[in-house]
Symmetry: D2
Subunit: 260 residues, 4 copies
């Protein structure tokens, strides 16, 4: 494809400005680290912008979303401050084909919970323990380029099962934690024309988004979530005539599929 993939990296950008410890790890904000990872791996194939909570419309106006092929989402402390109108706008844009990469504590974001229909609850513990992410789908493009059958993060926040999500369409990684838990760490879902990748690693006080493997997986996830699929939905109606001469009319409830 000659036109670059248009990526918007969203970050609530709260911890980095209120905690010295976090600011030391992510001096430009977590969004900068995530954006760098995507640029590092996808290069000229991608055009990346960032958006944060404090901007008008959280930086996610209709115009920005209409010009976004894949959105990545990081939030933790301020899920409730995200306006419902923006959440609904993002949801409709996902339905119309925009990819969504949901990172770490964004499991509890409004947008992820609305798209899943579940509580998205999980177990957690902050103990800086070791995590191993095992590949359970070696065929998946999201693990492209990984050298081994698993990779390790030395100090992480633990997330454990039961992770209250719908059964994922695909499970790509399962994590092992030193303290005794497991977690479905890389999961994909489809909603409408949009593809969603949830990826567990990340935290504000561990330098997870500087890890080489994590950065590659995020970039792979963005590439995988890029819009593909047919042209139909959202480009207006195009309904074939019925084969048999049947009275009545074809109607499609598709007001929600207008964009894209």
């Amino acid at each position: 494809m000659s036109t670059p993939l248009r990526v918007t990296v969203w970050n609530e950008y709260v911890h980095e400005r209120t905690s010295d410890a976090v600011a030391k790890i992510y001096p430009q904000g977590i969004h900068s680290a995530v954006a760098d990872a995507i640029r590092q791996h996808l290069g000229s194939g991608v055009s990346v912008r960032t958006a944060t909570l404090d901007e008008p419309d959280h930086g996610l106006t209709e115009e920005v979303l209409a010009a976004t092929d894949v959105l990545t989402w990081w939030g933790h402390a301020a899920h409730e401050r995200v306006e419902d109108a923006v959440v609904e706008r993002v949801q409709r844009r996902v339905w119309a084909g925009m990819g969504l990469v949901v990172l770490h504590s964004a499991h509890n974001s409004k947008i992820f919970r609305r798209l899943m229909g579940t509580s998205c609850m999980l177990r957690w513990r902050e103990a800086g323990e070791r995590e191993r992410l095992w590949i359970v789908d070696p065929s998946h493009p999201i693990v492209a380029g990984l050298e081994d059958e698993c990779f390790e993060l030395e100090h992480t926040e633990m997330y454990g099962e039961f992770f209250d999500i719908p059964p994922p369409d695909e499970i790509v990684f399962i994590s092992w934690f030193e303290g005794g838990e497991v977690f479905r760490s890389g999961c994909t879902f489809r909603r409408g024309k949009g593809k969603i990748f949830y990826f567990r690693p990340g935290h504000e006080t561990f330098p997870i988004y500087h890890d080489a493997n994590v950065r590659r997986v995020i970039a792979n996830g963005v590439a995988w979530a890029a819009p593909t699929g047919c042209r139909y939905f959202g480009e207006g109606r195009n309904i074939p005539e019925p084969l048999s001469p049947i009275a009545g009319e074809h109607v499609v409830d598709e007001s929600l599929h207008r964009a894209k």
Copy 2:
């Protein structure tokens, strides 16, 4: 099991009181026909009550839901009149293990859309055309007792693809329509501890809920959606100690899983 399965049959109960044509087919309301079908097949194994839109809390108080193992839902004209607080109450009860059987036009109900995370849009046409429901999972308990590989309904409202739902956990039936469409007519989903069965047939102006095969499938769906699973979720925390002596604490985000 010696205690009967507690089933609540919900119906918006609008068409039957405003249209003579509908009243002729369902003189006691669609809920009565659905409740009869369940009693017919599950007999003494089931205790069935009904609830409708006009009752206080739409008949779905905390007490009623706490005493409901499986809820069936029919709605069409009045989805928007269902209060959000009740919808959220039902959703949490599904997460805690209550089964949900969603019938026909309830594809567009608030509760189904919230649990799916998608628009749940579809194509439709009222032409009284022929439908064939083909079994595509012959191993499933929901098709127990069906004699043939498909069954027919002579006059139906057409529902066609694309049906905007998440990829179902299981597809049990696919419908063929005389006018040229197909539809995933019997689909299962899990959300939390709750099981959900969407079943397409039904309409207010066709006597679909008097059809022998439809009645059997609805009863099978109720039996399948009955709560099963482990005791843990919702009965409070019960977290094993970590194996390794790790500083920090186990915390579970489970406020949403209290009931049941």
Copy 3:
């Protein structure tokens, strides 16, 4: 159901007769322990017999299989000694609706590999290490009666990912191992009208089949795998006439679906 579920417990029965250590744990053979577990939980609802490698036809004649609703399979040292004709007989019986519960090292049995279509390879280590089985589908009947969100086995053989199976229809348990691995420990699959449950725990030198939770899950798995579904397949043809008057004939390639 008034007629009891007919279960056949198969065991290659080699280790128990060649090793004192194994004989001490399973003096009557692993099949006796498995059969006991099933009887303990399913009581009068079940009629259990056993069969072993050294019997004629490995104890799995056409007559035995025709009178078996669910077959459980344990093998380890002698997979290659199972005759292909018997394997094919079992496979066709699964297609026709017989349930199959595959235990531990039977991941590498001929029958499991034929039904999966993959190598079924995995990582393993005998170190007597601790295992935790986490429930990742709390709604599933296979976890009915379990008290907690996970259960532990103190000394086990490790099985680790990548477990080369097709993506399971349902993942019920994921195991955590002390040495650093994870494993999809409880998985379901459907093949034709038959349901298959793979359950990891077990080993000839650890008393796994005396563990209360393991015994319950095996019994649950047997109950879940019991034949359900429609009557059609295997009871001969029953093909509806085409709706439109189309020249040509309906033919079904169903020679393989005769039994049951």
Copy 4:
């Protein structure tokens, strides 16, 4: 990617040489039409060769397979003439990452049946009737470029449910047939590192592989089935040390994962 995708198009090439009717539609053989479709859409990104039944090793030597990224398969009259040794070679190559696109009557090929583990039976009728393929996963790259929500083939052989395959990982198309049947016409599966796409359309006496939409979908399927995923499997062992100092050894049962 700068190196082109290496595609091998396999055809049993029997009908075209024994029937004038077939030869008129496919004068160079069905493989030529399929190869052309792939070249038409993937252009310089692909390098296509063909192989047929009558060649030594059916044209599928170890060398050819080692140099094949995606294999397409068409067979109908001569499934039994394909040697088991070649079938096993293809199966292992799929496990190691080669994509496989299975066309029409190859549902009954040895290779597809071995990879599925089921009978792969279906209903069929030759009546030259109309088929509509409805898109049920609009997000999928396999439907990229299709203009409408369905496409039609005017004269086809009917394939109907129940199609005895494992529940597919993804269902992309569902077909409607004029005579009253439905069929899961576009299905994906993963086996090991390999991706498999089954696509129904095609027949020796209908010019299906000259249809613009069918040609596009086949090319999309080839692109989708291209090897992706991690580097590990098949490039030798690379096992991380256990975290805890545990006696015993890590062993991997991976003799089957050597190639690629």
